[in-house]
């Protein structure tokens, strides 16, 4: 550490702020004071994080600092090194945490006098701090320590509402899956360690002798599975839609918007930094990521489209978006493998930009869902409706998030999806027909994802906020406290700023990843083309599009006002009811009925089962019915077809293994004895 270096002082301040946020609330018995005492330092810490990360990212420098209390053994110590890549992810963490911390002050009042706010504040700050330190780590030891700290803190947050059976189940699935993932990550690091003989990331980055190809392949595959598990990549995603919705909504926002990004960070670190592809031999890495990414995107969104629980639907949508991010990363790796540096920059920019954007709008949407939960105490979309009138601010902010995540101009989701599409379209430059055709299939999946995402969020917003309330709770909903609105507004502001001024994001990504900035020079995104002898440049300028939309709006308003020769009146009257009399909430479309056509079209995936039971007045006349009851359910194919059999086999196997656990002390000692004898025998036969 260089004393007096402003950056490292800032780094320590960040750590101190979050530690303060974790510890200070423990002194307060009063819930209200405890929540302020934990989330205010959290917000301050995130502001510091943003300052630190932004200054490193923009300047394109790096900050190195071993902690002063490092242990004697050189490998087992905390070592931090913040380069552009770390700084970028740190920035994502800071931005989202700022919004969520402000939001949490209000949101935690949901739990006042019911649960320990102190525990919530403690775990929350610990969770954020460990995420920051994960991306700052510079050796395997500190990476894994904070990775585990992050997993454990989030595990306890997932089971925060521990009375519910579902929470515990979700937490267990989460902790098991995440540890499986960590095992793979550890394997990946160890594979590199055996090559370099050192645990520091520095040695991975520049090994003494280049790693053999097969080692690099092993490193990549293990990292993809390990980090893919944390990221929620299909088919390792099953924990995500269980765990994310079970946590308190502010934590769900952090988990979905930020925590899964640490996995993207790890994957990017391994594939771009440690084992950067340089020859066409590693193109299959990228292709594997493209396939896994597009499959995740499609499957995630298909489940999001039919999910009734608003938070679960958002969690599935996180799987979708992480799929898009990994698709972009994969394309970047494919392009790098063939030496197409410029295109790789476009794809990487798309991927990282989408990471940032997803952090903004997914945190916004989860906070919005939390507000709905706060106001109505239900997250079942079937029982919501009509909230736009009761909670206008929440509705407006949620709508901004919905537009952004659906990839519509002029918000940020569109800009990053535009770049992703350009990267897909540019795949014609890959000199391999098989890859070209495969990527075009991935493009279909991507476009279908975009189409269904639009439908998903129309449905989510419509079923939650529009038409009539479908339950008493929704009818009596009230607008949420100001701090929650403020927190959501921060995230909504990010969606707008990163949309209308892409350079705010892309310029920073370019400098922090050391990319050529020509792709994103001053808010105009450009991609050059050269096909069939035609040279052209595709470009798009978000600010100009926004200005044009404004101008068009003004022109239309002017025209409409001018053309109306007299003032027109607006009459409020009931909705057209075909003359049958009062419409009521039982006649309108619900969330399930909205998704029914999609469910039918994709029935091969959902395996929907519908049972209709009819109660007739008399058996003789089948047409007169007293009542009818329709039940429909869909299944998660992955849980049913992949995990359930796997778990069953494993349980069966271990049941058999368990027989050696007799409960007799003698038997255990016999095993010890046998083991000892075998060991000695081994020493005997092996010279």
């Amino acid at each position: 550490m260089i004393i007096g270096d402003g950056h490292s002082v800032l780094f320590y301040l960040v750590i101190l702020a979050f530690i303060a946020g974790a510890l200070v609330p423990l002194a307060f018995r009063n819930s209200r004071k405890a929540s302020v005492a934990s989330f205010a330092p959290g917000a301050a810490g995130s502001v510091l994080t943003i300052a630190l990360a932004a200054s490193i990212a923009v300047s394109g420098t790096a900050l190195e600092m071993p902690l002063p209390f490092a242990a004697a053994a050189t490998e087992i110590e905390f070592q931090f090194y913040i380069d552009g890549m770390s700084a970028f992810f740190m920035l994502i963490i800071g931005l989202v945490t700022l919004a969520v911390s402000i939001y949490s002050i209000g949101y935690s009042s949901e739990y006042h006098e019911k649960r320990s706010i102190r525990a919530l504040g403690f775990l929350f700050n610990l969770f954020v701090l460990s995420m920051i330190l994960v991306v700052a780590s510079d050796n395997v030891f500190s990476f894994l320590v904070f990775w585990e700290a992050m997993s454990l803190a989030s595990f306890f947050l997932v089971i925060y509402e521990h009375e519910s059976e579902g929470s515990i189940r979700a937490g267990m699935t989460y902790i098991v899956m995440t540890h499986l993932g960590t095992a793979f990550i550890l394997g990946s690091f160890l594979a590199m360690y055996f090559q370099t003989g050192s645990l520091s990331f520095d040695s991975f980055r520049s090994p003494g002798s280049p790693m053999p190809a097969y080692i690099r392949d092993i490193v990549f595959v293990l990292a993809l599975v390990g980090f893919g598990t944390k990221a929620g990549l299909v088919p390792m995603h099953v924990w995500l839609p269980q765990a994310h919705p079970s946590a308190p909504s502010n934590v769900s926002a952090l988990m979905s918007a930020v925590m899964i990004k640490t996995a993207i960070y790890g994957l990017a670190r391994v594939t771009l930094d440690f084992a950067a592809p340089s020859s066409p031999d590693s193109a299959w890495w990228g292709m594997l990521m493209v396939v896994a990414g597009s499959a995740s995107a499609l499957i995630g969104v298909l489940y999001a489209a039919i999910e009734k629980d608003i938070k679960r639907a958002l969690a599935f949508s996180s799987i979708e978006n992480i799929g898009i991010v990994i698709l972009g990363l994969g394309l970047s790796v494919v392009f790098l493998s063939f030496g197409l540096q410029a295109l790789a920059a476009v794809a990487l920019l798309a991927s990282m930009y989408h990471s940032l954007n997803h952090a903004a709008f997914k945190s916004l949407l989860f906070m919005g869902a939390g507000s709905v939960l706060f106001g109505t105490h239900t997250k079942n979309m079937e029982q919501l409706g009509g909230l736009a009138k009761k909670m206008p601010w929440t509705a407006l902010l949620f709508l901004i998030g919905a537009i952004a995540i659906s990839g519509l101009p002029p918000l940020n989701g569109f800009a990053s999806e535009w770049l992703t599409m350009q990267a897909l379209l540019s795949s014609y430059q890959v000199p391999n027909v098989a890859l070209q055709v495969s990527i075009s299939f991935a493009s279909i999946a991507f476009a279908l994802t975009a189409g269904i995402a639009l439908a998903t969020f129309v449905r989510m917003f419509g079923a939650t906020f529009l038409s009539r309330p479908r339950s008493k709770e929704a009818e009596h909903a009230k607008e949420v406290p100001k701090t929650m609105i403020a927190g959501m507004s921060v995230a909504a502001g990010l969606c707008i700023v990163f949309g209308i001024l892409p350079f705010a994001a892309t310029g920073m990504i370019a400098s922090s990843f050391g990319l050529d900035e020509s792709v994103a020079s001053f808010n105009v995104l450009t991609v050059p083309y050269s096909v069939s002898g035609i040279e052209s440049i595709s470009s798009m300028s978000m600010p100009a599009v926004a200005v044009m939309m404004g101008a068009a709006g003004a022109a239309i308003a002017g025209f409409v006002l001018a053309s109306g020769s007299r003032k027109t009146a607006r009459k409020i009257y009931s909705t057209w009811d075909c003359g049958f009399g009062e419409l009521n909430e039982r006649m309108e479309y619900t969330a399930s009925s909205l998704s029914q056509p999609i469910r039918t079209v994709f029935r091969a995936l959902y395996k929907p089962r519908m049972t209709i039971s009819k109660d007739r007045y008399s058996d003789s006349n089948p047409y007169m019915k007293k009542s009818m009851r329709v039940e429909s359910e869909t299944k998660d194919v992955f849980e049913d077809r992949l995990y359930a059999p796997a778990v069953k086999t494993a349980v069966g196997f271990f049941d058999r293994v368990r027989r050696i656990q007799t409960g007799k002390v003698n038997a255990y000692l016999l095993y010890v004895m046998i083991a000892l004898a075998l060991l000695l025998l081994l020493a005997r036969v092996m010279p």
């Binding site: 007799k664 002390v665 003698n666 000892l676 004898a677 000695l680 020493a683």
Partner: protein, 226 residues
């Protein structure tokens, strides 16, 4: 072959053989008081072996260790054990129905000694060990295996302590023979350790006998989670 044949070679081998015989003596005893006295004899032999080692190596600390062995293991531990188990019913102190019959146990112990010699051949031939280690290594490993076997084969928890003590003696011999006496402080620490260990296990056993009204460790099976 198992050390029972008396060779005119040297006193070390003979004393080691004596140790093994004394160990068998512990194995065949059925009752608590019986094996305790057998253990006392075994320990005296062990102290003798240790003294021989001390004589061979000329390290004065090993004399101290031998003396300590004599005092603590042959006198203090048996006394303590008798004292803390006074309240345990006599019926729990007798191994009425072991998993492996006592005569068979002796046979198996003999086999284990053979096995130990066979298994340690490699180490004996490969490394540059001195004569003390060469002689005592197989013996200590034998004690180790026999101790484990005693624990495995006994049903009464109290009588399993004997296995533990045999293992401990084996370990002691092992360290002394190979390292020619670790630091005396450590040695004393180990003695204190075994003393406390024996006391604690005896107290635990007493609690078990109070709770379950038996010391048959078969009943511990109920603790298994199904």
């Amino acid at each position: 072959m198992t050390g029972l044949e008396i060779l005119p070679a040297d006193i070390l081998t003979i004393s080691s053989a004596g140790l093994l015989i004394a160990t068998f003596g512990v194995v065949v005893r059925r009752g608590f008081a019986d094996w305790l006295s057998a253990y006392r004899y075994q320990t005296i032999v062990l102290a003798g072996v240790t003294a021989v080692i001390a004589y061979y190596t000329g390290v004065w600390e090993i004399y101290v260790a031998a003396a300590l062995t004599l005092v603590i293991k042959a006198v203090v531990i048996p006394r303590v054990l008798v004292r803390v188990t006074r309240k345990i019913k006599d019926e729990f102190k007798i191994e009425a129905n072991p998993y492996v019959g006592l005569r068979l146990s002796v046979l198996i112990s003999a086999l284990l000694v053979a096995l130990s010699y066979a298994l340690t051949q490699q180490m004996l031939s490969s490394s540059s060990l001195d004569v003390v280690a060469m002689t005592c290594l197989p013996v200590s490993v034998s004690l180790f295996f026999i101790g484990l076997f005693v624990i495995v084969s006994r049903r009464m928890a109290l009588n399993q302590v004997v296995g533990l003590l045999i293992i401990e003696n084996g370990l002691f011999l092992f360290t002394t023979a190979l390292t020619h006496g670790v630091s005396l402080v450590i040695e004393i620490g180990i003695f204190a350790d075994i003393l406390v260990g024996v006391v604690i296990s005896a107290i635990l056993l007493f609690r078990i006998s109070q709770t379950f009204d038996t010391l048959d460790i078969g009943s511990l099976e109920k603790l298994r989670d199904d």
